[in-house]
Amino acid sequence: MFKKISTTVLAMMMTASLVLAGCGKSNEPVNKGQNGANDGELAPYEINMVFYGPPQKDLDEIAAEMSKITKEKINATVKLVRIEPAAWAEQSILMLTGNEQVDLIVTGGGDYSRQVAQGQLIALDDLVQKHGQGIVKAFEPEVLGASKVNGQTYAIPTNRDFASHPLVLMRQDMLDKYKLDISSIKTIDDLDAIFKVIHENEPNVNVLGKASAAASIANRLLETRWDILGDYIGVLPNLDELKVVNLYETPEYADMLNTIRRWYLEGYIHKDAATSKETAVDYIKANIGFAVINKGKPGAVGQTENRVDTKLASVDIGSQITSTTSITSIMLGIPTNSKDPDRAMMFLDLLYSDPDLVNLINWGIEGKHYVKVGDSSIDFPPGVDASNSGFNLRQGWMFGNQLLSYTWATDVPNLWEEMDKYNREAKKSAALGFTYNPIPVKTELAAITNVTRQYAMGLETGTIDPEVNLPKFIAALKAAGIDKVIAEKQKQLDEWAKNK
C-alpha cells in the first residue's frame, strides 16, 4: 500500500519538476544595453565593479566619492564589489555563471582565456571605438593588442609594469653583520656562498622562502626567463623564436631543480616548504627569514621593504622581458552579464583618463587616507599608518591606468617615468600578442594539471629528489598528453604568426 502511494507521489514529483522547469527558461532577461546607447540623455545607472583584495573599512566611502565624479560625467554611480582573494576563483566563476549584474571584472591569465572561450566576456573593439579614446591614448598599440583572441579584444590590460626580471632580495642588516659582498652575484648558483654563511651563523633562519603561498621557489625564475605562453604547458625558451617546447624537458629546468635541491639539502629552504603557506615576507617580518627570489620591476624593492619593515639589498639576475602573459595577467573586462556595456565602457575609459578617479581607488580620499607631500608624491596623514588606515588597498596595478596616480612617499617620485622606460626597454617575446585557446585540448589539460600538482611543487621547492622524480614527472606528463597540447599550441601560434 505504502509503496503504491509512494510511487504515485514520485511520479507526481517528476511531472511537476518538468513543468516547473518549462516555466523557468522563459524569463531570462534579454534586453541588454537598451539605455545608454543613445547620445542624448543617459538614464541613471549603477556600475558594479568586481575585484579581489583584502577588506577595506572605507570601501563604500570610496565608491561614494567615485560616484560623485561619474555621476557628473556619465550619470552613473559606482558600486565596488570586493572579493576575498582566497575565494576569488570560485566566487568570480559563480558571479559570471549566475545571472548577477557585473559590469566590470578583473580578469587575466588563464581566467581570461577560459572566460573568452565560454563566452562570458563581451568583445570590446566597437565599444572602444565609440567610448574609449582615453584607453587608446594610454597604450602603445602593440600592448593594447596583446589581449586579442581571434582578432577581437575581450579585456583591456591595466597600464602598469608589463615586464619583469628575476630579482633576489636579501636582508641588508644580515649582509652587513657578516660582511657579505653581493656585487659579484650573477646567477642563482652564486647565491650559495651567501646562503652558506647565513645558515651557519643563524641556524634558526629560513634562508630562502617562497615569493607567495602558492608559488614554488622556482616559479618567479621561470616566469621571468621564458615566455610561459599562459600556462607553462609549452613555453618559448628563446624569445626570438616561435618554437614551443616542453619546459619540464629542458636542461635549464633540470639545472634549476638541482640548484634548489642542493639548497634544500643544505637546509636553506624550510623542510615544509612544499605544503607550507608561509612566504619569505612572513619569515622576514617575523625575523626568521633572509632572502626571496621574486619578480622585479621599478619600485619593487621599496614596496617589499614597506611590507617587511627592514632594509633589503637587491640583485637583478638578468634583464626584463615582456610577453603576452605579463601584459594580460591583469585586465578589466565587461561580462555578458552587464546590463549596459556602453556605460561600463565609458566608466572604463575614465579609469584610463581621469586621474582623480584613479587616485581615489588607488589611494583613497585626500586628507583622510593620504596627504600630498610633493607635486605628485603622497604619504599617510598624521596619525594614520598602514595598521589603522581605513583604505590601504595599494592595488593600483588593478584599476585602469596606474601611471596617472600619485606615487607613495617611499617610492621615487618619477616612478612612473621609470616604469614607462622599463616597459619600453624590455625584451619583447616574438609571441607578444598571441593568446592561446586551451579549449581544444581541455581533456588533456585536466589530466596534465593533476600531474603538475603532483610533482611540480615538490620538485621546485627541493623537497623531492629531481634525480628520481623529474624523469617520472616527464613520463607522467607524456602519458597525460602533453605532446598533443604542445602541438596544438604550436599550431595556434603558427596560425597567429601567419595572420599577424
Binding site: M1, K3, I5, M13, A89, G110, G119, D231, T449, M457
Partner: protein
C-alpha cells in the same frame, strides 16, 4: 497489494488526508531542492557557452566525461575512492558499535553523557582545522612526532608529507576519529531502546555479558546498522574532500595514495573551471552510487527482507 481496489485506495487517501497535507511542504522542498536541479544534468553533455545560454549551447555527447578515464590516474583514483570508503565504512561500523555498547554499559549517567560529548566533539571540527591539528603532529621541523615521539623511540625523523605509504593509515585514523562518534550516538540510541527484559531473561539463563552482547544487542540493532551502512554505501563513490585535500595539505607527493575522485576533479578543473566537465564528474558519481545502492539493497533483501531500505 494488487487485490486492493482503486476505490479503497482513494478511501484510505481521504482518511489520511491531513497527513498528506502535512506532507506537502516537505515535497515542495524536495522538488525545489533535489528534483528541479536534476535538470542541470544536461550540462554534462554540453559545451557550455555563456553567450548562448545553457539550452543554446552545443551538445557534445560524452566528451566531457573523457578526462575521467583518459589517464593512468583513472584506475588509481577509482581504487583509492572505493577502497578508502570500504575501509571507512567497516572500521567505522566496528568502532561505533563497540563504543555504543561500552557507553550503554556505563552505569554512571553523568560520565556516560560526558563520554558521548567527547566522542562527538571531533565530528564538529572543520576539516581545515583537523588538517592543522594533524600538521602539528606531523610537521617535518616542528611536529610532535618528529620532535618528541620518534627521537624518544630512537627512530629517525620521517618526512610525513613526502611519504605516500603512511597516509592510508593516517587518513583512516583521522576519519574514524572524526566520524565514529557521530555514528556511535545513533547506535547508542538504538541500544538504549532495547527492552531490558531480554537481558534479565538472559542473566537468569546464565548468559555472561559477552554472550548478551553477541546474542541480544547486536541482532536487535542490526536493522539500524543495515540502514546506516546502506546509506554510506550509496555514497561510496564520493569522498570526503576535506579529508583528502585539507588534511594532506594538498601535498602533491602524496597523490598516489591520497588522490580520490573529488580531489582529482577539483585539481583538474582548477585551471579551466569548465562546468560541463565538473557536471560530468558529478553525474558519473551519482550514477555509480545509485547502481551500488540498488545492488546492495537487493543483496540485503535476499538475505533478510525486513532489513532492506525499499
Amino acid at each position: 497489494m494488487k487485490a486492493m481496489a482503486n476505490g479503497s485506495t482513494l478511501k484510505r487517501a481521504m482518511k489520511y488526508k491531513m497527513l498528506y497535507i502535512m506532507l506537502i511542504p516537505g515535497i515542495v522542498y524536495l522538488l525545489i531542492n533535489n528534483y528541479v536541479p536534476m535538470l542541470g544534468m544536461i550540462i554534462a553533455f554540453k559545451d557550455i557557452n555563456f553567450a548562448k545560454g545553457i539550452l543554446g549551447s552545443d551538445w557534445v555527447g560524452f566528451k566531457n566525461f573523457e578526462y575521467l578515464f583518459k589517464t593512468a590516474d583513472a584506475y588509481i583514483i577509482t581504487r583509492n575512492t572505493i577502497l578508502y570508503n570500504v575501509v571507512f565504512i567497516v572500521v567505522n561500523l566496528v568502532v561505533a558499535v563497540a563504543l555504543a555498547i561500552l557507553l550503554n554499559e556505563m552505569k554512571n549517567r553523568f560520565m556516560s553523557r560526558f563520554y558521548q560529548s567527547i566522542v562527538l566533539l571531533p565530528h564538529l571540527i572543520s576539516s581545515v582545522i583537523i588538517g592543522y591539528l594533524v600538521f602539528s603532529l606531523l610537521s617535518a621541523e616542528t611536529g610532535l612526532m618528529n620532535k618528541t615521539i620518534l627521537p624518544w623511540l630512537g627512530i629517525d625523523p620521517i618526512m610525513w608529507y613526502n611519504e605516500p605509504g603512511f597516509w592510508p593509515y593516517i587518513l583512516t585514523f583521522v576519519k574514524i576519529w572524526s566520524t565514529a562518534g557521530y555514528l556511535c550516538i545513533i547506535y547508542f540510541a538504538a541500544v538504549v531502546g532495547i527492552d531490558q527484559e531480554y537481558y534479565e531473561a538472559a542473566t537468569l539463563d546464565g548468559a555472561n555479558k559477552f554472550q548478551q552482547i553477541l546474542k541480544i544487542t547486536i541482532p536487535l540493532i542490526t536493522p539500524v546498522i543495515v540502514i546506516m551502512t546502506l546509506m554510506q554505501i550509496g555514497r561510496i563513490f564520493y569522498s570526503d574532500f576535506g579529508l583528502f585535500y585539507q588534511v594532506t595539505l594538498d601535498s602533491g607527493v602524496l597523490l598516489p595514495t591520497t588522490n580520490v575522485i573529488d580531489t582529482y576533479v577539483y585539481r583538474s578543473l582548477l585551471r579551466n573551471g569548465d562546468i560541463g566537465m565538473s557536471s560530468a564528474a558529478g553525474l558519473y558519481q551519482s550514477i555509480v552510487g545509485f547502481i551500488i545502492i540498488l545492488i546492495s539493497n537487493y543483496a540485503v533483501k535476499k538475505i533478510n527482507p525486513d532489513n532492506s531500505l525499499f
